[in-house]
Subunit: 334 residues, 2 copies
């Protein structure tokens, strides 16, 4: 009735071009078995009829799907960056991505269920929150790659950043600038990476022979957590602070500046994550960045390997982060 009565199919193109359906199929997916002349003619007809292949039917018939399901959280701007990398990586090896988001009102289980019904070949989960056991049962059904979360399950693959190394880099940088009294505001008990980053901090301090100066304050993932933590720190202020993440660092910065302390003049601050806002001139935060492209490439490669049934012994890939030096770190006060 309205615009297009029905979308054209292979059969329509075949009829119009005077060839068989199978031949049109061959032409459309650029498979061998058609002469240049007919190829040309079929393509012309397809274009004229505005033919669009039906992915559903295509995937249904041809078993393997060359489709990777990705679960990401709308709350994490960082996940958007990772999507960019994943699209690139998948594209490069001829795979497609199908996305499913978690939102404050749409949980991970729902997001995963949707992808399972779409019959993607493997799942890539960005910072999955569901219990490890659940990941394991899921992995029994379909290859699963978890990113940015360590999972001690021998059936799920993991691609993550070397968290400890990240804070290590931050401490190295500060020490190099001449800092000694460096404190760490951690991510609290509930955050997965918190313990690793704290350990990285302690280890780095020991490595520089500064264990006597080491000081860890309990914080959390939010802005307020950083603000609260730094107030406790100010009785005997260090010359530099490494924070659990950028948000926490921002809260911290805010309190410092309100108290009239100059950053980095009086105190240097390092965040973690290289969140987009840390680039704002206003904040200009020195921070630790994950290697997005490398991680994305590895995750996709690993997923595809599993789909192809490759036998890979090690399940976990740990990628080194890098330090992004901006304006919140400098020489310590004299």
């Amino acid at each position: 009735m309205s615009a297009g009565d029905r979308r054209p199919t292979l059969a329509d193109v075949a009829a119009e071009a005077g060839v068989s359906v199978a031949l049109v199929s061959i032409v459309m997916r650029e498979a061998p078995g058609a002469s240049a002349a007919t190829r040309e003619r079929v393509l012309e007809v397809a274009r004229r009829l505005d033919y669009q292949p039906d992915n559903r039917a295509r995937l249904l018939r041809s078993g393997r799907s060359r489709l990777l399901g990705v679960v990401f959280a709308v709350e994490h701007p960082f996940h958007d960056d990772m999507l960019t990398g994943l699209y690139d990586a998948a594209d490069k090896i001829g795979y497609d991505l199908t996305l499913s988001a978690t939102t404050p009102r749409r949980n991970e289980r729902t997001a995963i269920a949707g992808l399972l019904q779409d019959r993607c070949a493997a799942l890539v989960l960005l910072g999955p929150q569901i219990p490890a056991a659940e990941l394991a049962t899921l992995a029994a059904r379909i290859p699963v790659v978890a990113m940015m979360r360590g999972v001690r399950q021998r059936t799920v693959d993991v691609v993550r950043t070397d968290e400890a190394r990240g804070v290590h880099l931050a401490v190295d940088h500060l020490v190099e600038l001449g800092h000694r009294r460096i404190a760490h505001v951690d991510g609290g008990r509930r955050m997965l990476a918190s313990a690793e980053r704290r350990e990285g901090y302690l280890e780095a301090m020991r490595g520089h022979g500064l264990q006597a100066y080491a000081r860890v304050v309990v914080g959390g993932p939010g802005e307020e957590d950083g603000a609260r933590a730094v107030r406790r720190l100010l009785d005997e202020p260090p010359t530099a602070v490494t924070a659990f993440n950028d948000l926490s660092a921002t809260g911290l910065l805010d309190v410092l500046r309100r108290d009239g302390l100059a950053v980095p003049g009086d105190i240097s601050v390092v965040g973690y994550d290289d969140s987009s806002f840390s680039r704002l001139a206003h904040i200009d935060l020195t921070t630790v960045a994950q290697d997005i492209d490398t991680m994305a490439t590895l995750a996709v490669a690993r997923a595809v390997d599993r789909v192809d049934g490759a036998a890979i012994a090690h399940r976990e890939v740990v990628v080194a982060p890098r330090l992004v030096v901006r304006g919140t770190t400098g020489l310590p006060a004299a």
Copy 2:
């Protein structure tokens, strides 16, 4: 060979339960036509075999797809917020969402092509960048709802915010606080909403009889644009500024504070978009927020109406924004 040889199908469940495939289908989609007893039994078998319906086959067979394709940009954190609303709205009326992102290296055309192949029933485009003509040809093929962009094409639906009204609200707020010398830093020539917001500003100034004080400075969408514009403003500083967007406002704030001007003591600033970073204690920006839930609900409803072939005369829905008052606006300096 590996984990699961093959995912179970309706036929497997049917065989195991000793009934026909059709009956299992009936049970799985909770259609009428099966007794409570068999329903129970079939479900039990399905659960035992870990049966998952195959969406592809399902959609292929049952023509209509109850599937909405959404194109969003990873660069826009705001789009993530909108996704949240869209998921809610779609969920409420039994529709599914399939997402396709644009990234710095994946353009809108590619994103749309993917969705077309997935045979979704309609397309929802967040802030589409492609030419209106292209949108029109697309709309000839499938219902299209464009969000956050005005399109003068009688074949595509539009759900957008009343941009002029947003700046109007900002000016009203400032005038109410006692400001008169209120300037506007616009979004430059290339931004779609720029002209509307500028008009809204001028109209509001006129409405308050302040046309003599009206002053528009050419800016842009970025932080640097705001910074550059405000420097030009400082020869004869106003007591308040409305900026094209939050990013521009942030650049502006940064310059002001570096110049030793207090915000809002010496000068008040209003942004636009309610970006997530505008909530940071550090920035705490008064801004104009779009009504995400309303817009999402309207967009989904409109898309579904078109799918159902409803005849709706007006193609454009304009939603009122609201002002979010935070810490960058206050009484003018005495």
